[in-house]
Amino acid sequence: METFEKIFQDKIDNEIKIEPKDWMPEAYRKNNIRQISQHAHSEIVGMLPEGNWISRAPTLKRKAILIAKVQDEAGHGLYLYSAAETLGITREKTINDLHSGKAKYSSIFNYPTLTWADMGAIGWLVDGAAILNQVMLTRTSYGPYARAMVRICKEESFHQRQGFDILYTLSKGTAEQKAMCQDAINRWWWPSLMMFGPRDSESTNSDQSIKWKIKRKTNDELRQNFVDMCAMQVKVLGMNLPDEKLKWNETTKQHDWGEINWDEFWNVVKGNGPCNKQRLDARRKAWEEGTWVREAAAAFAEKRKAKAA
């Protein structure tokens, strides 16, 4: 056992990826299953807030773009579910865990999308935050997860740009459009910061995820990168981030900023966010209403097989 573990850790330390059939500690397997499937669920549930606006996109161009983006997210969910499956969990179990509420997805998707500007704010802020995390994960130690991330990152930057493009257009528009733009930024800013998870100081234990190189940067490091990035970009929009304490710090060469409402964070994680119930209900409904499709496809495959025989 000890030798296996040493070989495993040596591989990690030497930047050799872990592949599905390699020996790995049970905790490494479990941690990856949890993280990858939560990530997959986030992609799938993440389609819902945007799906809300497909039929109401302001132009045909915006509609086509939004459909393409949502379709990408379905694809991203699939890459990730497949990666999770290589660790020995069935697709069915993963999906069941989502539908039962056992498995989590990113809390950000439990906030409502009230205006068209929210499509912009989601692309710019939510996808922007996701990209920081995902770029880091292209170097994660588990091979299938890293490969899924490379694929996803290639597609994701279009998501962020189209979001910024929506906001930029609004920011050049009428007074109402500008107000709508600022309002969306106000509502999405803090939840986006929460996407990076609890503060590093919440943990007093040794940092196993970093040691195993599943994660390569801490929550707070990524969050700070995000704040610095957005603080610059928001100026291009001529808008403000809703944080009075946001200020460039010449000494640390990064921005100082305010405090996240952690009660709100845990409340949404625990299922009491504005849309938790609605999102899960929508997923369950989609699964149930798709039953006949799954059954028909299986029956058709049987029939085709019989015919060929």
Binding site: E19, K21, D22, W23, P25, E26, A27, Y28, K30, N31, R34, Q35, Q38, S42, A68, Q71, D72, G75, L78, Y79, S82, E85, T90, R91, E92, K93, N96, D97, H99, S100, K102, A103, K104, S106, R147, A148, R151, E155, G197, D200, S203, T204, N205, S206, Q208, S209, I210, K215, N219, L222, W266, V269, K270, G271, R294, A297, A298, F300, R304, K305
Partner: protein
């Protein structure tokens, strides 16, 4: 094994803090089989493993592979193989399996010292 993950990361909310309920075991429906997808990115290149997906049959696997793996013209040809038909080497045997190739340096052109007069070979 004494390694437990205690740190809370993005996309990694631990179960004891998340207020989850255990769904029990209600797996009843049989999953469609898993397929491995190979894509040729352009004429003249080999098919390369792209990923995997579930589908009821080969035709559906090809159609889904098109939707999932070629949304941005990544392929001109798709192979699908049901995963259960893929046989693989065992990583534990890597050492002994590939060992015979290790000590045959004469298989490489650099093993041979050619006289300088031979310009290109």
């Amino acid at each position: 094994m004494k390694n437990y993950i205690k740190k809370f990361y993005y996309g990694d909310i631990p179960e004891d803090k998340s207020g989850s309920s255990d769904p029990g075991n209600k797996a009843t429906h049989n999953d469609w089989p898993l397929w491995e997808i190979f894509i040729r990115s352009k004429q003249g290149l080999d098919h390369k493993h792209a990923g995997s997906l579930h589908a009821a049959d080969a035709q559906m696997a090809i159609e889904n592979a098109r939707d999932v793996y070629t949304r941005r013209q990544e392929g001109v040809s798709i192979w699908v193989v049901e995963s259960k038909y893929i046989h693989a080497t065992n990583p534990d045997e890597t050492g002994s399996l590939y060992e015979p190739a290790n000590d045959k340096v004469y298989r490489y052109p650099t093993f041979y010292d050619l006289p300088d007069e031979v310009k290109h070979m």
